[in-house]
C-alpha cells in the first residue's frame, strides 16, 4: 500500500562496498522521521566507542512526514551522527533548512543512511530511484558555493546539493554541511569528509501524498496561516503600529509603513503587515534590518528562506563594498550566520563607536565573514569560536602556543584596526588546518585542553560556556530561568531549542504570557517575569519538558522550531492564543494515522529518551546528573553582590538547579537520583529492548 506523508523508503549507501539498498520507512514509524529515524539507526547500528571519523560511524539525513506536504515551515532536514566537538563524541543532530529534504522526498526518499568510507573523493547522485556514487575529484578542494554550482549544473537546476567545504574535507571538528547558499547544518561536515563524501545531490519528480481530504487539508492550512506570526513566532510588531495593541523592540516583526526591501527593483515596501492580511506574512520579517540595523535597508534585495515557509528569515543583501575584498556583492544569511564572523573581530569593527554596533562596517564584516565561513564550510559552535579566540588572545596564550614564525605571519594589525580583511586569512587558516591557530576549529573543549585554558575560561560569563562538555549558552538561564537552564543541560551540544524562547520572546505582556502558561503548563508559576526569578517548581519542569519534546518532534516531523509550535498567535480576538494541537492534526491528515496531541508528544518523549540512553552508553555512565547535566560556575556566581531570586539577577542557585533537574527527571519518568531512564519508562515508551541493553551494561537504575 502506498504511504502518505512518508515516501515509504529510506536509502542506504555503503561507501566502502558501493552497495546501495532500500529500506522500509515504516519500520521507524514510532520514531516519526528526521531526528527520530537518525537516533534509532544510530542506536541499532553504531557501537559506543566509535570515533566520528571512523568508517563505522554513520550519518543519516532524514526528513519527516510533513516535509514536502506544504505544511508551513516544513523545509527542514535533520542530520544525525556522532559529534566531533563533544568530548565523548556523543550523538547529536544538526539541521538545515533550504530545499534539500523536500527534493529528497520528491525523489522518493524519506532519508539517506550513509555508512563506510569511499576509497577516493565521491559524491552521491540521487535522481528518483537512480542512485549512483560519482567521482568528486573535480570538486574536491573547492568551496561549497562552487561545488553546489558545479554539481547543480550537472544534475539540472531543479536539483538541490548539500556539500562540505575545505573545512569538512580537512576533518575540522567545527565544520558544516550546506545546501543552497546559506542553509547550514553545524557540526557534522567532518563526518562527510572522513567518508570522502563531498556532497549529496538530490532530485526527483514525484510528489508527497497526503491521506486527508484535500479540502479539509486546505482548511487546516488556512487556519494555521491565521495563527502564524513573524520569525520565531513573534506575535507583536517591533514598533508601535496602528493595528497593534502591543509592541516589543525585540520582535522580529519589523515590517511597517515606510520600511523597504530597498535594493529590490523597484523597491518593495513591507507596509503595515496587519495580521489579518495573509498576503503580507512574507513581509513581516524584514530580517536584514533586525540583524544589522537600519543601515541594511537599502541593501536588502528580498527575504529568502526554506521550502514552504511563508515567513522567510534569510536576508538576501547586495553590498557592493564586498567586492573590494574580492568577494561577491551578493550575500545571504540570517542570525548567527552573520553575527558569528562579527564576533571573531574581537577588537571591534572600524566604524563602530561605543553605542553603535549596527554600522555599515559591522554589516560589511558580517557579510564578508558569512561568505567566507559558508564557502569554507566552517561552523562557529553558536558563536563560541569568537569567544575562544578572545580568551586566547587577551590572555597572551597565542603568543605562547603559536610558533614564532606563524604568530608573526598573522595580520594582527588588521584585527586591531577592526578591518574585516582579517577574516579572509583567519577562516582560511582554520579551514585548511594551517598551523597551530587552526586548532581553534577543534572547538571549545578540545582547544581548552590543548592550550591549557584556565578555570576563568569556563567560569567567566564573558566566555559564555554553558557546559564543561564544551558548548555555550543558547537561550539558557536568561530565558525563563530554570526552564532555559535545564533545557541547556540535556543535549550533547547547545540545545538548539527555541520552543521556550519563542514563547518568552513573543512580545506579549508578562501577565498575559503567564496566564497562557497557566493554561498549558498548569500554573502561571511556570513562567517568572524577566530578571525576577522565583525558585523551581513543577510547572517550570512541565514547561521545560514541553519545550524539549516539541523541539524533538519538530526535528522529526520535520518542522522549523524557529517558528513552531503555535502556542501563541497575533490575533487579539483569540486573546493571542495559538493552537498546540496543530502538529498532531497535520500529522494525522498527512499520514492517515489518527494521532492525538498526547500520542504525538509521547513519540517525542520516546525519541528524546532514546537520545538519553545512547548518550549514557557513549559516556559509559548512568550518572547523568553528575556527569552530563552540568553547568559552569558563572551561572551561579555571576553578580556576586546579589542573592539568586532577587530582582535584577538571572544567576541560578546550585541547590535549586539540582531540584530543577530532579523535577524534569520526574516529568520524563527518569530516575530522580541519576537522571537515567528507568525500565518502567522505557517499557512505557515501547523500548524494552533499550532497557535490556542498558541493564546488560549496568546502566539501568535499580
Amino acid at each position: 500500500m502506498a504511504t502518505t506523508g512518508w515516501t515509504g523508503k529510506i536509502l542506504r549507501v555503503n561507501l566502502s562496498s558501493g552497495s546501495i539498498t532500500t529500506e522500509d520507512t515504516l519500520k521507524y514509524k514510532e520514531f516519526i522521521g528526521g531526528m527520530g529515524i537518525g537516533y534509532k539507526v544510530m542506536w541499532d547500528e553504531v557501537p559506543e566507542g566509535t570515533h566520528p571519523f571512523d568508517p563505522e560511524n554513520k550519518i543519516i539525513f532524514a526528513a519527516g512526514p510533513l516535509t514536502g506536504t506544504g505544511v508551513p515551515c516544513s523545509g527542514r532536514t535533520n542530520i544525525t551522527s556522532l559529534l566531533p566537538t563533544n568530548p565523548y563524541h556523543a550523538i547529536s543532530d544538526s539541521h538545515m533548512g533550504g530545499h534539500f529534504s523536500v527534493r529528497m522526498k520528491y525523489g522518493g526518499w524519506d532519508g539517506i543512511i550513509i555508512e563506510g568510507k569511499a576509497s577516493k573523493p565521491v559524491w552521491l547522485r540521487i535522481e528518483n530511484d537512480d542512485v549512483t556514487i560519482e567521482d568528486a575529484s573535480h570538486v574536491w578542494g573547492k568551496g561549497i558555493f562552487e561545488t553546489n554550482a558545479v554539481l547543480t549544473e550537472e544534475m539540472g537546476k531543479e536539483a538541490v546539493v548539500a556539500a562540505i567545504g575545505q573545512a569538512g574535507e580537512n576533518l575540522v571538528n567545527m565544520s558544516v554541511i550546506i545546501n543552497g547558499a546559506s542553509h547550514s547544518a553545524g557540526g557534522h561536515g567532518g563526518v562527510l569528509g572522513s567518508k570522502n563524501l563531498k556532497a549529496i545531490g538530490v532530485n526527483g519528480n514525484q510528489s508527497v501524498g497526503i491521506a486527508a481530504d484535500r479540502k479539509e487539508w486546505l482548511e487546516l492550512d488556512k487556519y494555521m496561516m491565521s495563527l502564524i506570526g513573524a520569525n520565531n513566532q513573534h506575535v507583536v510588531p517591533n514598533a508601535p503600529q496602528p493595528w497593534a495593541e502591543y509592541h516589543n523592540p525585540g520582535s522580529r516583526w519589523t515590517g511597517k509603513k515606510d520600511l523597504y526591501w530597498g535594493a529590490a527593483n523597484p523597491p518593495v515596501e513591507t507596509g503595515e503587515c496587519d495580521p489579518k492580511d495573509m498576503n503580507s506574512v512574507g513581509l513581516r520579517t524584514q530580517k536584514a534590518v533586525f540583524d544589522h540595523g537600519e543601515v541594511a535597508e537599502k541593501h536588502t534585495v528580498r527575504m529568502g528562506g526554506c521550502h514552504s515557509c511563508p515567513v522567510r528569515c534569510h536576508s538576501q543583501l547586495h553590498i557592493p563594498k564586498l567586492e573590494e575584498y574580492g568577494y561577491s556583492a551578493n550575500v545571504t544569511n540570517t542570525c548567527v550566520g552573520y553575527f558569528s564572523p562579527g564576533a571573531v573581530m574581537i577588537n571591534g569593527i572600524y566604524d563602530q563607536d561605543e553605542d553603535n554596533t549596527r554600522t555599515e562596517g559591522a554589516m560589511i564584516t558580517r557579510g564578508l565573514g558569512a561568505q567566507l565561513a559558508d564557502d569554507y564550510g566552517m561552523w562557529c559552535n553558536y558563536m563560541q569560536l569568537g569567544r575562544d579566540f578572545l580568551y586566547a588572545y587577551e590572555n597572551g596564550i597565542l603568543e605562547k602556543v603559536l610558533p614564532e614564525e606563524e604568530y608573526n605571519s598573522i595580520e594582527w594589525d588588521l584585527l586591531e584596526a577592526g578591518d574585516p580583511k582579517f577574516l579572509v586569512d583567519f577562516y582560511r587558516r582554520l579551514a585548511y588546518k594551517e598551523g597551530e591557530l587552526s586548532h581553534l576549529g577543534d572547538s571549545a573543549y578540545w582547544i581548552a585542553k590543548r592550550w591549557d585554558f584556565g578555570d576563568d575560561y569556563w567560569n567567566d560569563a564573558k566566555y559564555g560556556l554553558w557546559s564543561p562538555l564544551g558548548f555555550p549558552r543558547h537561550h539558557s538561564n536568561e530565558t525563563a530561568g530554570q526552564v532555559g537552564a535545564v533545557i541547556s543541560c540535556m543535549f550533547n551540544r547547545d540545545a538548539q531549542c527555541h520552543t521556550h524562547i519563542n514563547f518568552t520572546g513573543s512580545g506579549l505582556p508578562i501577565d498575559l504570557q503567564r496566564e497562557i502558561a497557566g493554561e498549558i503548563w498548569g500554573s502561571p508559576e511556570a513562567l517568572d517575569p524577566p530578571a525576577d526569578y522565583t525558585p523551581m517548581n513543577e510547572y517550570k519542569a512541565k514547561f521545560a519538558k514541553f519545550s524539549i519534546i516539541r523541539n524533538i518532534l519538530h526535528d522529526s516531523l520535520t518542522l522549523c522550531n524557529w517558528m513552531w509550535p503555535m502556542v501563541l498567535s497575533p490575533l487579539k480576538e483569540r486573546g493571542y492564543r495559538g493552537d498546540t494541537s496543530l502538529e498532531a492534526k497535520f500529522f494525522s491528515m498527512a499520514t492517515g494515522y489518527e494521532t492525538s496531541e498526547e500520542e504525538l508528544d509521547l513519540a517525542g518523549e520516546r525519541i528524546f529518551t532514546l537520545h538519553r540512553a545512547m548518550t549514557m552508553k557513549q559516556m559509559g555512565t548512568m550518572d547523568m546528573r553528575n556527569k552530563h547535566d552540568l553547568m559552569t560556575d558563572w551561572i551561579f556566581d555571576a553578580d556576586p553582590e546579589e542573592e539568586p531570586f532577587t530582582p535584577g539577577t538571572v544567576k541560578m542557585d546550585r541547590e535549586d538547579m539540582e531540584l530543577a533537574k530532579t523535577l524534569l527527571y520526574k516529568e520524563m519518568g527518569w530516575d530522580e537520583t541519576t537522571g537515567a531512564p528507568t525500565r518502567a519508562t522505557l517499557e512505557r515508551l515501547g523500548m524494552g529492548y533499550v532497557a535490556d541493553e542498558l541493564e546488560e551494561k549496568g546502566f539501568l537504575p535499580g
Binding site: 508601535p240 493595528w243 515606510d258 558563536m383 530582582p647
Partner: protein, 197 residues
Amino acid sequence: MNSNKEQQGHLKDAVEQVEEKEILEILYEIIAENSREIKLTKRSDFLEEPASLQEEEVEEKINELMDVKDYQDIIRIKGKKDDYLFSEEYIDKNYGEILIKLEDNDLLTLMVDTVRRESKIYPRPTDIRLFKKAPFNFTADTLEKVKGELQKHEEFQDIKEQKASNGAVYLYSDKFLQHKQAKSLTEWVEVLQRQMP
C-alpha cells in the same frame, strides 16, 4: 382607520428617524474614513461639513452614535484640547492614545505614560530612541527638551534613566521596575540579547 393627522404624524416620525439615521451614518463614516487613514476625528470636526451639527446637539449625537450596536468599534477619549474619536477597526486603543497626546502636543505625558506602561506590563525599560520613531517622531531637540522637563515635575519623579554598557539611554518607572531589574533588563535588551540571537 387612522386619521389624516395621525398619518401625517407617523410620516414625520419616519422622516425624522431616517434623518437621524443618516446623520449618525455620516458621523460614523467621518470617523471610519479618518481612521482608515490613521487619523483621529475631533468632536469639533462635527461642527464642520459634512456633519454640520450645532454645538448644542453634538454631545447628544455622539452619545447616540456610541449606542448604535453596529458602531461598537468607535472609541471616544477625552484629550486635553478636544474629545477624540476613532474606529478600533483601524486604530488600536493604545495607538489611538498615543495619537491623542501627539495631537494635544502633550509630549511630556506621552513620554511618561509610554515609559510607565512599558515598565508595568511587559515589563521593560524604554529605549529613548523609540520617541524618535513613528508615530512619535520627536526631533533630537524635542527629545532632549521633553526628557529635561521630566526632572522639573514632582509627579514624574518615578521616571528614571538607565544606561547600558554601550552608553544607550533607557527610561523606566520605579513604580513598576526596581532599579536592579531595570539595569539588568537594559543591558539584556541593548547588549546581551544581540550576543545570543
